[in-house]
């Protein structure tokens, strides 16, 4: 539900109170954002354990640094930027080698293929984690820059300009990325038998899927 105007700047109010040591305000601030933060981590990292770790890390970092939040950006922008950075860091830690398609497949595909990488949880039955949907596989097949953009905009409903600010890229970049990411997702979902009926399958655009790293990250 969208909140009424009186509650719109509740973040500001809660931040002020939290800075003065009000732990209830801090709790409330957390609860206002936990869902989106967790789902951002979940959909970009692909499994609930890493997502919870990253969400925890990001919240702690944000709350420890509340004093450095100046209110120049929205709190949501600031917070989600921290989450994105934590998620990128996590992906880097999992993958000390330069990213390549095979390794990513090993990370993302539950029971899919050989490479055992990272946390060692890859062998866990995908049904247990509640994420055995084709969307997860489709998202994880995207290159990071595209995945983060499409998760922020299409799954979490961030406006393009805010997503651009969070990812530290131009708004136009966000738009062209989500356009290509959607086409790649459509192809992957169709392949998994899930896509809404499409006319034909032009295939993913070059560079969208994880054949190489994308350059930019934080700004």
């Amino acid at each position: 539900m969208s909140l009424s105007p009186q509650v719109r700047d509740a973040d500001t109010y809660l931040i002020e109170r939290a800075r003065s040591g009000d732990t209830d305000a801090l709790t409330e601030l957390y609860r206002r954002h936990e869902r989106r933060v967790y789902n951002l981590a979940l959909r970009t990292l692909g499994n609930p354990w890493d997502a919870a770790d990253v969400a925890q890390e990001a919240f702690i970092k944000a709350f420890r640094n509340l004093d450095s939040f100046k209110g120049e950006a929205r709190f949501t922008t600031w917070l989600h930027r921290i989450v994105v950075n934590a998620a990128y860091d996590h992906l880097r830690r999992q993958r000390p080698e330069p990213m390549d398609g095979d390794i990513l497949e090993g990370i993302s595909g539950p029971g899919g293929g050989g490479a055992v990488v990272g946390s060692g949880r890859d062998g866990i039955d995908p049904a247990i984690d509640g994420l055995s949907d084709p969307l997860r596989d489709a998202l994880m097949s995207l290159n990071e820059g595209f995945r983060f953009a499409v998760v922020l905009c299409d799954l979490l409903g961030f406006p393009y300009d805010e997503a651009a600010e969070i990812l530290g890229v131009q708004e136009g970049t966000i738009k062209s990325r989500i356009f290509r990411a959607r086409e790649a997702l459509a192809a992957a979902l169709t392949e998994a038998g899930y896509a809404p009926p499409g006319e034909r399958n032009p295939g993913p655009q070059t560079g969208v899927t994880s054949q190489g790293t994308t350059g930019e990250r934080r700004g």
Binding site: S2, D11, T23, D24, T27, L42, A52, I178, F179, R180
Partner: protein, 418 residues
């Protein structure tokens, strides 16, 4: 903007994104449309884009794991011994326990305090009166316990919230002679269970519910029911899902299991105030029923029908544009989840003696129109995730003929099965 004949959508992807969002100026839109008219390939790709966008937007978000809250803020709220306080002047020894009612109340306090308080008092009285004798007595004594808890916890929340909550309580106390029952019910607040493991029986899939309402021929019937708790090895979770008001304390116990001794002490004390007989058959408790009514009214402005038209409990009815089925389903599901109840789209009205659903439909001329009001994302500070909200009313269209019941609209009857 011009699109040359040889410029396919890859050359203007950013424009295509805005086109799909309906954000293009008329000239650009015309340029896109005239290209699409002559280019079946691009047109097909944009159709596919659109269906993917819809698929993604309809994908539900997952609930964060229960322990994330403690993991994320526990160290700040309860600094380890000898550790630096992570916030400024943290008050010492404050138990980590934000009352659940506080969370729910905040969402609808601003606009609807007075009307909801009054309504809750009246409906709460009605519910209490229609309940059986022993049950009412039990809930009264429990409510007395809750009031104590409420008073204690009120001192730990923000002054603004305390003030508001106190205002609510006094409003309803003054509004009716059923002061004791209604006031305490409200003070006890919605016994939210969203952190508790809930064994829901026959939970419906969100998309199934949306489709059922979108395609309903007769009125669409939506019920709130107590879950039928499946017998599990984990007796705790079974009791939790069934016990209505009692679960608030259980939840706190679980959430703060790693917390300080102060917290554990406070929780035990509260739990001791809950009579054991609330841990029996799963029913929608009075507190839960009041909370559902409060939330539906608070979020939509829709008022419950006259008691003579109730089905198995408090009942709402409205015309709903079929295209807004999703908003309604999301609302009732979120209310149901927060209370640990099952929300279902039923195949028809409940079988009852004097067929109240017929008399209900005789009054359909007086039903409100419940429609989603879509708003742009706020440009400044905001909690800008959802852009539509349901609101009841006739608006400027009052006096127009009844909404097209068979085609564009459907009557939705929502009731609480008690």
């Amino acid at each position: 903007m011009m699109i040359r004949g040889d410029q396919h959508v890859d050359d203007w992807a950013e424009v295509a994104v805005d086109y799909l969002d309906g954000q293009l100026d008329p000239d650009s839109r015309l340029a896109v449309e005239s290209h699409l008219a002559g280019c079946p390939d691009c047109a097909a790709r944009l159709r596919k884009q659109q269906s993917v966008v819809r698929f993604l937007q309809e994908t539900p978000l997952y609930d964060p794991p229960e322990d994330l809250e403690y993991r994320a803020i526990g160290e700040i709220v309860f600094p380890s011994p000898g550790g630096q306080p992570l916030l400024g002047p943290v008050e010492a020894e404050k138990p980590y326990r934000t009352p659940n009612w506080y969370r729910t109340l905040r969402a609808w306090i601003p606009a609807t305090v007075a009307i909801v308080a009054l309504l809750a008092a009246v409906v709460g009285y009605g519910i209490a009166r229609s309940g059986s004798g022993p049950e009412t007595a039990a809930s009264s004594s429990r409510a007395a316990g809750d009031l104590t808890t409420f008073a204690a916890s009120a001192t730990t929340v923000a002054p603004e919230a305390t003030m508001t909550a106190a205002g609510v309580a006094s409003t309803s106390a003054g509004a009716t002679s059923a002061g004791v029952t209604s006031t305490t019910a409200l003070a006890a607040g919605p016994p939210a269970t969203d952190a508790a493991p809930v064994t829901l029986a026959a939970t419906q899939d969100r998309k199934t519910m949306i489709r059922a309402i979108e395609t309903a021929q007769a009125p669409a019937y939506v019920s709130f029911r107590a879950p039928v708790a499946a017998p599990t090895a984990d007796g705790q979770s079974t009791a939790t899902s069934a016990a209505g008001g009692a679960d608030t304390t259980s939840t706190e116990t679980q959430t703060t299991a790693g917390g300080t001794t102060e917290t554990a002490g406070g929780t035990t004390e509260t739990a001791a105030g809950v009579p054991a007989d609330t841990m029996t058959l799963p029913t929608v408790s009075q507190d839960q029923a009041v909370s559902i009514v409060q939330q539906i009214t608070g979020f939509t402005g829709l008022l419950p029908l006259d008691e003579s038209m109730w089905l198995e409990g408090p009942t709402f009815a409205a015309f709903l544009p079929r295209e807004d089925a999703e908003e309604l389903v999301d609302l009732v599901r979120s209310i149901g989840v927060s209370l640990g109840l099952v929300v279902r789209v039923e195949g028809g009205p409940p079988a009852m003696g004097n067929s109240p659903s017929e008399s209900l439909l005789e009054h359909k001329k007086s039903f409100a129109v419940l429609a989603a009001q879509r708003a742009l994302q706020p440009a400044t500070w905001g909690y800008d995730f959802t852009t539509s909200t349901l609101a009841a009313g006739t608006g400027e269209k009052s006096g127009t003929p009844m909404p097209d019941e068979a085609g564009t609209h459907v009557i939705v009857v929502i009731w609480i099965a008690r």
